[in-house]
């Protein structure tokens, strides 16, 4: 995973470029895969490291939220929490944000151990491996500020 500032900034960049509505939903979509999959896994790992007996299956179970099928299902569930007239817009933007997140993550290199893009139908894994997993950290604050500024400038007077 790239850092979350980079993910959120990529969402703002896309919304700034397209001047589309539901910016918040798209940015939320860029956060959800890590929030749903990585945060619980890190929490359970910390517990296990501290000696709490956590079955290894438990942290792994959340990882499907970082896979395309899991992302789609998660977005369906979340979109249905909204009022009917907003569901389609929220769903499309959450999905777009999740897949943008995955697209950014695919650029990274994890020793060739890639992301399972077709699970549960296949265990084939893939990553492009074009940059290190921490390559974005020094640029992230600048990228975040520039994306926010670009989005703000493009969205003046528009619905967000």
């Amino acid at each position: 995973m790239a850092d979350l500032i980079t993910h959120m900034a990529s969402g703002l960049l896309v919304k700034g470029a397209t001047r589309g509505r539901y910016t918040g939903a798209l940015v939320a979509g860029t956060v959800l895969p890590d929030l749903g999959a990585r945060v619980p896994a890190m929490g359970f790992s910390a517990l296990a490291k501290a000696g709490v007996p956590v079955p290894p299956e438990v942290p792994y179970a959340f990882e499907v939220l970082h896979m395309p099928v899991g992302m789609l299902l998660m977005c369906v569930v979340l979109a249905l929490l909204f009022i009917p007239e907003q569901r389609q817009g929220v769903f499309i933007n959450l999905v777009a944000g999740c897949f943008l997140h995955l697209g950014v993550d695919l650029l990274q290199d994890h020793l060739g151990v890639g992301y399972l893009l077709a699970f549960p139908f296949s265990t084939w894994d893939f990553e492009l491996g074009w940059m290190g997993s921490e390559a974005t950290v020094y640029l992230a604050p600048l990228f975040g500020a520039a994306s926010l500024g670009f989005w703000w400038w493009r969205m003046r007077g528009s619905e967000r």
Binding site: R21, L35, A48, V77, P141, E159
Partner: protein, 154 residues
């Protein structure tokens, strides 16, 4: 198909769709957990199939160092600790490493072939923490509640 799905999202059957999606999510989660913990041919599998695994390459991307000895260290991520034999002079507990190694059944450990220490990992975690905080701070601005439903406020 897109139109049909959009219609389904607002139809009376929408709660069923949500329930089905939740069930499917649970099922895929359980299926993946079983695959990752018991079927993937990683270190744990090699421990149980030692001879078949002799010399097999094992890749451990982004694991936390939890123990450092003179010529051996251990890493942990969801499972572990996994013992790795290799140089430890530049390692500390709490470091994050990516390791390529080979399984050695005699010592039930991995012989390190190459390693990368992720020195910028703490900075990445801090940035992600900041991103997560901004997300939760921004949430009340974007969301309202009408009846028992959420309303996107933009």
């Amino acid at each position: 198909m897109t139109t049909r799905f959009a219609a389904l999202l607002v139809s009376k059957r929408a709660p069923w769709l949500g329930g089905l999606a939740l069930l499917a999510l649970l099922g895929v989660g359980i299926h993946y957990a079983n695959f990752a913990a018991n079927q993937r041919q990683g270190f744990q599998w090699c421990l149980e199939n030692a001879e078949a695994c002799r010399g097999r390459e094992i890749r451990l991307p982004v694991w936390d160092v939890v123990e450092v000895k003179e010529a051996q260290y251990s890493v942990f991520k969801a499972t572990g600790p996994i013992p790795i034999r290799g140089k430890t002079t530049d390692l500390r507990v709490g470091d994050t490493v990516s390791v390529v190694g080979t399984f050695d059944p005699d010592s039930a450990s991995i012989q390190e072939v190459s390693r990368e220490v992720h020195r910028r990992r703490p900075l990445k975690k801090a940035l992600s923490g900041l991103g997560l905080s901004l997300f939760f701070i921004g949430l009340p601005w974007c969301l309202g509640v009408r009846g028992r439903r959420l309303v996107y406020r933009g």
